[in-house]
């Protein structure tokens, strides 16, 4: 749930295609006199994704020395494909898997296949940030977190924060993204390399018998003082206690397939934002992510619902809740059933059935709390729907609630 500014974070991702600004182009020309890695030069010669004339400009500082221009060393021999860490961008047009994947996801033909191929290359396969999906997956992660949390907060304004975090994780968490990638029919290459089909997910696998790598195992908490406010302001969109590893930090690290698959889905969102613009990303997000089924009422785990309910009634100025027995059967039998309603004055807040009076009362209080927390406004406009709109008459201010009960 970090706050982000999306307007600035997209433009530099296209930098390999053309310099972001004249001064950047000048910088890259100047930098071209520095020693380069031989591999990068060979790859830049016949690339389709990087048809730059003046030079290649990398905003990412990690491999800034690796930038190369075609003019500087035009006569070096291209390396054999097996020496490349990931497939050449020019191989993307020939890959039937990529063509099929683009149509399967109903992406328009103007979305370049080279960009789609780049999203399939995890940083563990190719450490060069101009050819792997690390930067795109950072952008995609923030976009996904933004769209999901704004949709949840606008549609369920009274949801408690732990449930908001759990719902965000259910929609765009690591497991959900890995499931989505497999449902899109993504196959993984056995071993990444330049000769592999561009339509396969490229990442370095963990050798059989080895444990998780250190970068994924490290459990460094954000901070020892973990409050809800801290989770909202400082941690990621899932409110997790540990910082996830940065995509750039996973270079040459063997990773599990789930990690690579989730980075692909995020990078695809980032690439769609860069190449096709945010309206199409929002439509893609609605079709592929929000259309999934999640029953938010099953995410609640109340500890003392009766106490929460009486605090809620006190806060909202309702009369104190009273549990009354509505009906019962078989009190002295082996299977008694009691139906208990929770009333505030003459209003019934909730109703529950249980095999003992206490159980029924607890269920009734939980039902009443869920009825309060799962309130859904009828008409909702999310903030991102007004991005770039000149006509703001369609905007409806969203309902803002004071939050969950604090006991």
């Amino acid at each position: 749930m970090q706050r982000i500014s999306i307007s600035r974070c997209a433009s530099q991702l296209r930098a390999p295609r053309r310099p972001a600004c004249p001064c950047a182009a000048a910088n890259s020309v100047r930098r071209s006199t520095t020693p380069h890695s031989h591999r990068i030069q060979a790859r830049c010669q016949s690339t389709v994704a990087i048809p730059d004339e003046g030079g290649l400009h990398l905003e990412i500082a990690a491999n800034s020395g690796a930038a190369a221009t075609r003019k500087s060393r035009p006569s070096s021999q291209p390396l054999p494909l097996e020496k490349l860490p990931s497939p050449h961008p020019s191989a993307a047009e020939r890959s039937t898997k990529l063509h099929a994947l683009r149509s399967r996801l109903s992406l328009p033909p103007r979305f370049p296949l080279q960009a789609l191929a780049r999203t399939l290359v995890h940083a563990s396969a190719d450490p060069n940030p101009a050819f792997n999906n690390a930067s795109l997956s950072i952008l995609g992660r923030h976009l996904l977190g933004y769209y999901t949390s704004e949709w949840l907060l606008c549609n369920y304004p009274r949801l408690p924060m732990p449930v908001v975090f759990a719902a965000v994780e259910a929609y765009i968490g690591p497991k959900a993204l890995a499931t989505i990638a497999s449902e899109w029919g993504i196959e993984a290459a056995a071993e990444p390399g330049g000769e592999v089909d561009s339509g396969l997910l490229q990442f370095k696998r963990i050798a059989s018998g080895d444990g998780l790598p250190e970068a994924l195992r490290r459990q460094a908490p954000w901070k020892w003082n973990v409050t809800t406010t801290h989770k909202i302001m400082r941690t990621d969109e899932f409110g997790s206690t540990n910082a996830p590893p940065s995509p750039h930090a996973l270079q040459k690290t063997p990773v599990p397939m789930e990690e690579a698959a989730q980075s692909f889905v995020r990078a695809l969102i980032g690439a769609l934002h860069v190449h096709l613009g945010s309206p199409l990303v929002k439509r893609f997000f609605r079709d592929h992510f929000l259309s999934r089924h999640l029953d938010i009422s099953t995410l609640f785990d109340f500890r003392t619902p009766t106490r929460d309910l009486s605090r809620l009634c006190a806060r909202e100025g309702f009369e104190a809740p009273v549990a009354r027995l509505i009906s019962e059967t078989g009190r002295l039998s082996r299977h008694p059933v009691f139906v208990v309603g929770v009333y505030s004055g003459k209003d019934k807040l909730g109703e529950g059935a249980g095999s003992s009076l206490d159980e029924a009362r607890t269920r009734a209080a939980a039902a009443a709390l869920k009825a309060w927390y799962l309130y859904k406004p009828v008409e909702v406009t999310v903030p991102s729907s007004m991005e770039g709109e000149l006509d703001t008459s369609k905007w409806r201010p969203n309902f803002v609630d004071c939050g969950e009960v604090i006991v």
Binding site: T96, K97, H99, A100, S103, R104, L105, S106, P160, P162, V163, F165, A166, E169, A170, Y171, G173, K175, A176, T179, I180, S182, E183, W184, G185, F284, R286, D287, H288, L290, S291, R292, H293, L294, D295, T298, L299, F300, D301, F302, R303, T304, R307, D308, I326, S327, T329, V337, V339, A353, E404, V405, I406, V407
Partner: protein
């Protein structure tokens, strides 16, 4: 903490938002010599380009399999594989089999006994409950 949350993963409902065709690849195996793949060869020459153009989301592979009967092998999103032998079928018959594999979900064929519709949503009426509705006096 008065309230904790349970971790879950949202379930896919293919076709509610986006529709992903379950058929991922179709492989057509033919033989140039045996007469049983005469219809398959005619299909590959005449009908396959239109079939492929109408189904761009399927990866189509054509491979010779000498001195064997012609066969169509389909791979599905859920990892399963289906194959149909199309020996001695004419062009139209091969196309029908390809359409059959294209439209399949890749799951095993099973009998739809009981309720043919499965739904994630609760029923509109709710679970039957002895304490509501019309009261029965005994």
């Amino acid at each position: 903490m008065p309230l904790a949350a349970i971790k879950a993963v949202a379930k896919s409902q293919n076709g509610v938002g986006a529709f992903i065709l379950p058929c991922r690849t179709l492989t057509f195996h033919y033989c140039n010599w045996w007469g049983s793949s005469r219809g398959m060869n005619a299909f590959l020459k005449s009908s396959l380009p239109t079939f492929a153009a109408r189904n761009p989301q399927i990866e189509i592979l054509v491979a010779p399999r000498p001195q064997k009967h012609p066969v169509i092998i389909a791979n599905y999103i859920n990892g399963s594989q289906r194959s149909i032998c199309v020996k001695n079928l004419q062009n139209e018959g091969v196309r029908e089999k390809a359409e059959l594999l294209r439209g399949s979900t890749g799951e095993k064929n099973r009998k739809l006994d009981g309720r043919p519709v499965k739904s994630l949503n609760e029923s509109v009426r709710g679970v039957w409950d002895p304490f509501h509705g019309s009261k029965i006096q005994i």
